[in-house]
């Protein structure tokens, strides 16, 4: 874990309202793994007070990338940084995706900005595994496909691709692949993750053996395990919460209650 001030290299708007920030940070680039996150101090003083967590979107040589939209004050400030401005980064944080495991087909599922961690995961997996992806959003403009391989799109209003949610699309398509050893990597809103969890459990009850890792979110004060602010129910022990920042943000879908 490091705390380091690193310069912005460039900010690009990859599609309307979605920003990609390139930051030169060799120290972070060297250590971070897909699915981990960074806790960013967006301003010099204490307004806003807390750091803002962001998934590592991609790493290329000495550079790291963040993907975000303008959600509130913090992301607005972040989007106004110029080339050379320093950004104070705390990380790498949390446990990322376990992508070394034994599987033939990687399935990426991303809802909206849940697309953020996949470019880096794709970079790590692309020469080793077959990958199919499902990306979704309420409407066409919310779907993010940036550096996501081999994707099918679902929109709830039907403005692009399958009409419905991304998990319904997944359920329909995965039937063609069930003979393979599948590992699912998913990131998106809680509702999507919950639907996915139910879907995977259903399939596994039919005798399939899909593994599924999900990247979860919560409000966070510290991001490194000292505030106890980010609990998620442990599926195996009713008296225990996991901490999303430290034990996650990526969990095996069987280990948490959404």
């Amino acid at each position: 874990m490091l705390i380091i001030s690193s310069p912005v290299v460039e900010l690009s708007e990859i599609q309307k309202g979605i920003f990609l920030q390139k930051i030169k940070s060799p120290e972070i680039a060297k250590e971070i793994l897909p699915g981990q996150f960074l806790n960013i101090k967006v301003s010099e003083g204490f307004s806003p007070l807390l750091r803002r967590p962001f998934s590592i979107c991609d790493v290329e040589d000495d550079n790291i990338f963040l993907m975000f939209n303008i959600f509130g004050e913090g992301t607005r400030i972040l989007a106004c940084k110029h080339k050379g401005d320093l950004i104070n980064i705390l990380g790498p944080l949390g446990k990322g995706f376990n992508f070394d495991a034994d599987f033939d087909l990687a399935v990426f599922i991303a809802g909206g900005l849940g697309a953020a961690p996949f470019p880096f995961l794709f970079r790590k997996l692309k020469n080793q595994k077959n990958i199919i992806s499902f990306v979704g959003g309420k409407t066409k403009s919310e779907v993010i496909k940036y550096n996501i391989p081999n994707y099918s799109v679902a929109t709830e209003d039907g403005s692009e691709g399958f009409k419905g949610n991304v998990i319904e699309l997944f359920e329909q398509e995965i039937k063609n692949h069930l003979s393979k050893k599948i590992k699912i990597f998913a990131c998106g809103p809680n509702g999507m993750l919950k639907a996915l969890s139910d879907s995977v459990k259903k399939l596994n009850n039919f005798g399939y053996n899909l593994t599924c890792e999900i990247s979860t979110e919560s409000a966070m004060a510290c991001g490194f395990g000292i505030c106890q602010g980010c609990p998620i129910q442990d599926a195996n022990n009713p008296d225990h919460y996991h901490l999303i920042c430290k034990d996650g943000p990526v969990f095996n879908v069987n280990d948490v209650v959404l």
Binding site: G229, I232, Y241
Partner: protein
């Protein structure tokens, strides 16, 4: 470099500098040790421990507010047994005083916790949390009841010779009355303040943002209140005060010491900058050095009111 004595005393406890890390904002030290050498600190106050592990409140536990944050953690902690077996051995490796904070839902539980921990050499002092706003039993029920605070102090005092600190609630009319009762019942010091009760609602759903509805406000927003509480105690009770609430830099520490704090605690700041104590120590040194203050403890209560 001049030699400036940054050490301070709290009861029998000598600290190499006035910087303590506040309970609930350092866990049990291990995560912080990834960022700083814990030995530079004046001391570490561990997360409130109860007799049995506590799961804590349901999410959402944290809300950011203007210049502050609300938390409703609900005293989630590993419980006495795991604390002794797993957490103390790590802390024992450091040459830094460990102050063990205890939260309980009955006087007996406080007494039992202190008794069980009193023989641990690593623990140099106890801080009794009678002021957590986020739990149903104990917490504020005790924190704003003078008789209760007096009793807890008396009963805990009877089972330990270690430095005994009572952590006071700001959610009372006159905090100095509580400090007085602590002193009368044998406390060595008081910490002021714990968090202030607050809440936040979502205007779209009309629901509270915290599952617990109410939470404790901390951060820079509460500093003026904390300063006023420290001063109020200092003006009327002769007891060492540990100032806590909204400290973000060395200037804030000097201010707390001037109004009466013998030592201070860093809380919310640890979440944002776990390395803050390094630069803060330099700031304190320079302030004293530039003004020929040989010993930082001279600042305590050095206010000039006219």
């Amino acid at each position: 470099m001049k030699t400036i004595d940054l050490s301070v005393k709290i009861g029998k406890l000598k600290l190499k500098n006035p910087i303590l890390l506040a309970s609930g904002t350092v866990g049990y030290g291990n995560e912080m040790s990834d960022f700083i050498d814990l030995n530079i600190l004046g001391g570490i106050i561990t997360k409130s421990i109860s007799l049995k592990p506590r799961k804590g409140n349901k999410p959402q536990r944290i809300v950011e507010t203007s210049a502050g944050m609300l938390n409703a953690i609900g005293l989630a902690n590993v419980g006495l047994e795991e604390f002794i077996n797993e957490k103390i051995p790590f802390l024992a490796k450091y040459d830094v005083p460990i102050i063990c904070n205890i939260a309980a839902s009955s006087i007996e539980e406080y007494v039992e916790c202190v008794k069980s921990l009193d023989s641990e050499n690593t623990i140099k002092a106890f801080e009794i949390n009678v002021s957590c706003p986020n739990v149903k039993e104990g917490g504020l029920q005790f924190g704003n009841n003078l008789t209760m605070v007096g009793k807890i102090t008396e009963r805990v005092r009877a089972v330990t010779d270690k430095t005994l600190i009572i952590k006071l609630s700001p959610n009372v009319s006159y905090i100095s009355e509580f400090a007085k009762i602590c002193k009368e019942n044998g406390a060595d010091a008081v910490s002021a303040i714990n968090t202030l009760v607050g809440t936040a609602f979502n205007i779209n759903t009309r629901k509270p943002k915290l599952s617990n509805i109410f939470g404790g406000l901390s951060g820079p927003a509460i500093k003026p209140i904390a300063l006023a509480k420290v001063l109020e105690i200092h003006l009327s009770v002769d007891i060492p005060i540990i100032g806590v609430g909204g400290i973000m830099n060395w200037q804030d520490i000097i201010e707390f010491m001037i109004v009466g704090a013998a030592a201070i605690q860093l809380g919310t700041l640890n979440f944002i900058d776990p390395t803050a104590s390094v630069s803060i120590l330099k700031g304190l040194y320079n302030y004293c050095s530039e003004r020929n203050i040989e010993s930082i403890s001279k600042l305590t209560g050095s206010y000039i009111l006219e």
